[in-house]
């Protein structure tokens, strides 16, 4: 157990370092280098020169990388000249709102996908299975923005049931006062995830259905329902932990799109604005934070999994 976690921990440290190196490389790919990116297109050449000397960008590359890491370790993500705020404060403001959106959609996805997948496994190769399989194919073949547009067209434009825009407000409290406006953004983000998760749940449950412990439980005279809930569900649920960890980067990509479709004031919308005005400190700061969060998340998922399933530790 301990060696396994230690090994994963060392790997995770290297992956986080890898993320910082990638961002550092991108920083140097920028037209005009980091100075242009940080000072903006209107800075004079002299300002750029001064900036380079001040911040050590005239030093060799590895020294620069060291300085960059030093800033990161001290929690300094940079300064957005577009918003005239530190990237830290922008993140602190908008990240919780995106976390709410993503968290809610994961909750909804698991609650829907798990029973759906088990239903498919139990009724395998029956009409229900085919119908859900077909639907999930369509589900994960749809661009996120197209799902959002369709939902807006149906529920806002035609039926007038729900507002076409996400909740507005600067704090999470303000967002939560408009739960109705949250429905469509969360639904948009969930549809693709439900499709993936239920497909996964189906194969995981099918594999478990032929295991000895299910047969033993059945031959002990346990009711079908008890077998399903007490044995199958619990064992099939485990891999979902890993799946959530794995799908986080993809879901965050989806969140960027969803937020721009619904004008939801989270990290994704901030990022999209940053991309349109070439606000690189915001984009790169966000990339580092999300990359590190993903690595920590999948590390946690693996550790949790190892705690729950002893077979993993010795693999």
């Amino acid at each position: 157990m301990i060696p396994y976690i230690a090994r994963r921990l060392v790997q995770a440290v290297f992956v986080v370092l890898g993320v910082t190196i990638i961002v550092f490389i991108i920083l140097h790919l920028l037209p005009g280098g980091p100075a242009r990116a940080l000072l903006g297109p209107r800075a004079t050449n002299q300002q750029v020169q001064e900036f380079n000397v001040q911040n050590g960008y005239n030093e060799p590359v590895w020294v620069q990388y060291g300085t960059y890491l030093d800033h990161l370790v001290h929690g300094n993500l940079g300064f957005s000249y577009h918003y005239n705020q530190t990237v830290n404060s922008l993140l602190a403001q908008d990240l919780p709102k995106s976390a709410l959106l993503v968290g809610l959609s994961y909750l909804v996805s698991v609650v829907i996908a798990v029973p759906l997948g088990i239903l498919q496994a139990v009724r395998r190769n029956k009409p229900v299975d085919y119908a859900v399989t077909g639907a999930s194919f369509v589900g994960y073949s749809m661009p996120v923005f197209w799902v959002g547009i369709l939902l807006i067209l149906i529920f806002a434009v035609h039926l007038h049931w729900l507002p076409p825009e996400g909740p507005q407000g600067t704090t999470i409290g303000a967002i939560l006062t408009q739960p109705v406006a949250l429905v469509l953004p969360v639904a948009t983000l969930s549809i693709v995830t439900v499709a993936q998760f239920s497909r996964f749940m189906r194969s995981s449950a099918i594999e478990n259905l032929v295991q000895d412990y299910i047969r033993t439980a059945r031959s002990n005279g346990l009711s079908a329902r008890a077998v399903l809930f007490r044995h199958l569900l619990r064992n099939s649920l485990l891999p979902i932990i890993t799946l959530i960890g794995l799908s986080l980067p993809a879901t965050l990509s989806g969140a960027v799109i969803t937020e721009s479709v619904f004008n939801y004031p989270g990290m994704g919308l901030l990022l999209w604005t940053a991309a349109t005005v070439r606000d690189y400190p915001v984009m790169l700061g966000f990339t580092v934070v999300v990359g590190a969060a993903t690595v920590v998340g999948s590390l946690l998922a693996d550790v949790l999994y190892a705690v729950a399933d002893p077979r993993v530790r010795y693999a």
């Binding site: 920028l30 037209p31 073949s141 197209w146 547009i149 194969s203 984009m283 590190a292």
Partner: protein
């Protein structure tokens, strides 16, 4: 790690490439039969063939002006002259759908091929050499995987002018990772097989062993991953264009058309929204159907999906 496995444990053991004793022709026949048993895959193949004909052959018969805008013919509903109406700058929507499909399909195929070649080379070398090099190469893959791909692509698309060739490279840059991981995993088990050891003992160079003995045995995995990559690349291109980072006009693509049509969502101009949206979904579903059938036919165990 225990990840997604789509195989069916009750099915009789399937043939694995490289272990079949009979003549090579029969392997492909069996694979072909496995593939065509999937009705959905045949439907998918039909859709792809239709889309390719529609986008690349269609414009030879259906001539439209897709370069000059015409202010006098803006947002016209479908009519005899314009079967799918005109868009917000007066382009014929049906003709634009063909043109947009060209760039969507080109980017999808080219990015998938590029990503497969690079991912295969990366994974095969990492798995074959092993040790420190393997660890370093796989941490590189993990690092790129940890960053949401849309972010990387967005940043790159703002640095370089997003023309079609640039977008192909940018999308391929984030698409080779899964292939690399899968190929590495299979190479790990292939490199200790007898025929590889025999080749090594006979003094065959490592590069030749990878090309001649490793890669041909993971080709099934590569093909399946590549099929899904095409679908993902088309989706990614659509997402980028939706965010305004796609190829600039007069170049067209389905995502960009959809994004333009959105401005008229309350005006009831359905022909600006549904045709492009349906084209994207149909094409992506088709590639996913084919990938799924190929996976079953080749009995590939994919890590994701």
């Amino acid at each position: 790690m225990a990840l997604v496995r789509e195989s069916d444990p009750e099915r009789p053991p399937a043939i694995t490439l490289g272990e079949v004793q009979s003549s090579p022709g029969s392997v492909w026949k069996l694979i072909g039969r496995g593939f065509f048993q999937h009705r959905l895959a045949v439907v998918g193949l039909g859709i792809i063939i239709f889309m390719i004909l529609f986008c690349f052959v269609g414009p030879l018969f259906y001539h439209t002006n897709q370069v000059q805008i015409s202010i006098l013919q803006v947002n016209q509903p479908p009519s005899g002259k314009h079967p799918l109406g005109t868009d917000n700058v007066g382009y014929d929507v049906l003709g634009r759908l063909m043109l947009g499909g060209q760039s969507s399909l080109e980017v999808g195929f080219a990015a998938a091929i590029l990503a497969s070649v690079w991912g295969t080379a990366w994974g095969a070398v990492a798995g074959y050499v092993g040790g420190w090099l393997d660890a370093v190469m796989m941490r590189v893959v993990d690092s790129i995987l940890a960053i949401p791909y849309l972010l990387v692509v967005m940043i790159l698309a703002t640095i370089f002018t997003p023309t079609v060739p640039v977008l192909i490279i940018v999308i391929a840059l984030v698409s080779w990772l899964v292939t690399a991981r899968l190929v590495r995993g299979e190479t790990l088990s292939l490199r200790v097989r007898d025929y590889v050891l025999a080749a090594k003992a006979a003094g065959v160079r490592d590069r030749w062993i990878i090309v001649r003995h490793i890669v041909p045995n993971v080709i099934g995995t590569i093909v399946v991953a590549a099929t899904f990559s095409v679908a993902d690349a088309i989706l990614l291109l659509a997402a980028l264009s939706y965010l305004g980072l796609g190829p600039p006009p007069p170049a067209a693509n389905w995502g960009g058309m959809l994004s333009d049509g959105l401005n008229y969502i309350y005006d009831g101009y359905w022909w600006l929204i549904y045709p492009a949206g349906v084209a994207i979904v149909l094409t992506v579903v088709a590639f996913n159907f084919i990938g799924d059938a190929l996976r079953d036919a080749l009995e590939v165990r994919l890590q994701q999906r």
